[in-house]
Symmetry: C2
Subunit: 247 residues, 2 copies
DNA sequence: TCTTCGGTTTGACGCAGATCAAAACGGGGG
DNA sequence: CCCCCGTTTTGATCTGCGTCAAACCGAAGA
């Protein structure tokens, strides 16, 4: 047995979706053992990213979809005049690149906010395998649909909520996503800057900072730099929707 | 030959996608004649809607997807406290209900803004037919992806544009969509109220009205109630992105 | 240890757009 | 034809958040 082969095998094993702890969140969720095997073979490689690396850039052609294996990324839409708007934050199990299927070109930049790793999933392979495995096709459709549903939520937030509510929704959403991944729902690190939070929420960084300070002085949360603890989740929830709407 | 049968046949013929003028915009775009025939059989019925009718309501389970055949609809996301946000306007050839695939429940209301007609497309049929017709599967994925891309654009608009820009983007987008459907790109009727425009753009109706008046006095457009003419499309385009951003 | 520099906090002030109010319009029903 | 009511326009005023500015903090590097 050659050492080279051994390395490759080990590599494959490490990569395999069938042994990945994110299974239940990720694209192959709900596949049988055999189906999972077929799916495994489609993932040709994992790709490590360092903080600040681009996973893809706006305007480049779609090479593959990417499942986040570890780390944290943002995607941001660009406006020709240089404005940018963070369209989403992505963590383990999230599928990225969906916006590019329609035109074959990415319309946002995807940037790692910390050292991360993603699995490359060639779209054409995914499409042909979907034909053979109905459950996969269905699941993929559901994932796209859920992204649309998420976007509608963001529209509601951006179009008709005040600053306090936006922040509360944001924190509660993060909390919930961490919980779904087995992390604490009440204590976590914010991987993004205040400016990035602001961009996502349609606010300026100063407003984000001020609002977080308010929450803190009300005893709802405890922030210290990027470290955050939610102290009164219930009150945060109540805060959303009780004020008169701006719009 | 029984009269009943004749009627059914006529009905079928009228409904057939293969003879629908929206073909190139709609879901079956790019299918071969045979494939189109198979697709036709999937559409069990058209559904007429009167102005104000609900196509579906938030919270109800997904029965089918709907392709707009004629007319004009809005979909709006609801917030428990009664706030509502228009998430999109839909016209001929648009596919509606995509947000509900993920959870099997609609998360927005769809309401006809004028008398309209839609084709019902049962999701399960679409999925199974997609397996047989790769082009259909691909096209469906593209349609979902394009909706995601559109949503990102709306986020950019809501998160970082000033009122003037939002209106300009809105008008230019309508113009382009009418053009793609063979209507005038410079003269059309606004099917929605100022309030609905405002809700979509994250503005109040007064602001929408004022901004339209400004455009008119600058000679960019001519508005008279719901009738609208774009006089200087190029200048409207330039207007987008030239101001300092609010966010 | 000190320096540097990106990120964050906090304060003072201004403005775009919300809110309130009232008048004008226009289309459908009697 | 007129009346009525939902929609739109326009004006006056208010306010939440953006803008500008300055101080502060913590991590990385010398």
């Amino acid at each position: 047995m050659q050492p080279t082969l051994r390395i490759v095998e080990t590599e494959k094993l490490k990569t395999a979706c069938s042994s990945c702890s994110l299974q239940e969140l990720c694209l192959p969720a709900g596949l049988s053992t055999d189906e999972m095997k077929a799916f495994d073979q489609m993932i040709d490689r994992r790709r490590p990213l360092k903080r600040g690396d681009y996973l893809y850039r706006s305007g480049t052609t779609l090479q593959a979809l990417y499942a986040v294996r570890s780390g944290f990324l943002k995607s941001c839409v660009l406006h020709e005049d240089g404005r940018e708007q963070v369209a989403g934050f992505h963590m383990m199990g999230d599928l990225m690149g969906l916006d590019a299927i329609g035109t074959n070109a990415h319309l946002c930049d995807a940037i790692a906010l910390e050292d991360s790793e993603v699995c490359e999933i060639p779209l054409s392979d995914l499409e042909s395998l979907s034909r053979e495995i109905p459950a996969l096709q269905q699941h993929f459709n559901r994932i796209m649909s859920r992204e649309i549903a998420r976007d509608y939520g963001v529209m509601l937030l951006l179009g008709s909520m005040r600053a306090e509510e936006r922040l509360a929704v944001f924190l509660l959403n993060l909390s919930q996503r961490f919980a779904a991944r087995g992390y604490s729902s009440t204590e976590f690190h914010l991987r993004m800057t205040r400016e990035e939070i602001g961009s996502y929420l349609g606010l300026k960084l100063e407003t984000v900072s001020r609002t977080l300070s308010n929450f803190q002085s009300q005893g709802l949360i405890a922030v210290q730099n990027k470290h955050l603890r939610l102290l009164k989740i219930e009150q945060l929830r109540e805060l959303v929707g009780q004020h008169t709407c701006r719009t």
